[in-house]
Symmetry: C2
Subunit: 210 residues, 2 copies
């Protein structure tokens, strides 16, 4: 488990599949950096704009890029400060992608979401994971971590979040979110513990000589 790996692991995931949790566990096991909301902070400071704006637009694809097709391409109109609201969605995406590439250049990392797989295409030290689980198992997890008070609310939350993730991914990449062929390795996380998945990824990285 403490084998020396040298890779960038990107994680795509269905809402409630435990992808973020696993990403953190993977990073700890392999001694990699971990990025997720921190990535946004970094992107924000990189581009010199406030984090709040990133948080609002992050993977909120439908309303997010509907504005791309509106008459005024430069004005996203999120009702935030004048400085940040003038940044187009395209510029925002580019700032995030640039940051992801800078992070990857720095060394081994686990990056959750944000089309990191696409931003890092062409690099041969990148492993793209996708985690999924049957909807009832995801509802269990969502209710357990208190993101929803009842199962129906959890179900709606999961469906809505996945729809937003798919729209965002399908818009910004040339791949389809959730399609096996968009990733190197996809797993049903409900069949395994985090420890077992770490073991499988460990083995996978070794096979790829990473």
């Amino acid at each position: 488990m403490t084998k020396k790996h040298n890779a960038i692991i990107t994680i795509g995931r269905q809402f409630g599949s435990g992808g973020r949790h696993l990403g953190k566990a993977l990073a700890e096991a392999f001694g990699f950096d971990f990025y997720d909301r921190r990535l946004l902070d970094e992107a924000a400071s990189h581009a010199g704009i406030c984090t709040h704006f990133f948080e609002k637009s992050d993977e909120q694809a439908p309303s997010f890029f509907s504005s791309l097709f509106s008459y005024n391409m430069d004005y996203a109109g999120y009702g935030v400060s004048n400085t940040t609201s003038r940044l187009s969605n395209e510029e925002l995406y580019r700032a995030q992608a640039d940051t992801i590439r800078a992070i990857a250049d720095r060394g081994p990392a686990v990056i959750v979401g944000r089309c990191a797989d696409y931003a890092l295409r062409g690099r041969n030290d990148v492993v793209n994971l996708f985690l999924h689980a049957p909807i009832e198992k995801r509802i269990d997890r969502i209710v357990e971590r208190l993101d929803a008070t009842d199962r129906e609310q959890a179900r709606q939350l999961a469906l809505k979040a996945d729809k937003a993730r798919a729209s965002y991914y399908n818009f910004y990449t040339d791949k389809q979110w959730g399609q096996a062929q968009s990733y190197d390795l996809s797993l049903d996380s409900s069949l395994l513990t985090d420890g077992q998945i770490i073991d499988i990824v460990d083995n996978y990285l070794t096979s790829r000589k990473l």
Copy 2:
């Protein structure tokens, strides 16, 4: 590699991803039975009808189940013998599914294609794999194994075969062909050798205690 496993491995695959070849290698490595065209033979003898009919209709979904919606449900009209042509597509599918379940009851096996994952749903000793590869890599393989004389022909062959597989799978199961969530484990086969994939699956089965 010679660890003792007790599982049924089903393999879904993109055309040209080497899924059948890997399935055979997996079966050999684990000492499992291997089914693919043999499955059809067995289904045929089980149902007491000629193999030729099965071969014609196997995973030829579009023309295959278009007949389901035709006026005469019982007469598939494949131009084979009177006895076999009276078997409906639904009956044919059921005979195959019954055979797949009988095979699984007999012991460890690798079963390629034929919606085996769906026929065996509910069993907890089943591992559903999906193998894919970028289209250019699949074309390499298709040309190499002489299924096509040039790359354009290989491309068309792959696209057509995958379309037929997806239609067949999506019609007979409640899942979507090629979607990560339809399988337990999906892999890009072009990034690894068969030996490496066997190693990963070996590790995966051990984690699942199978």
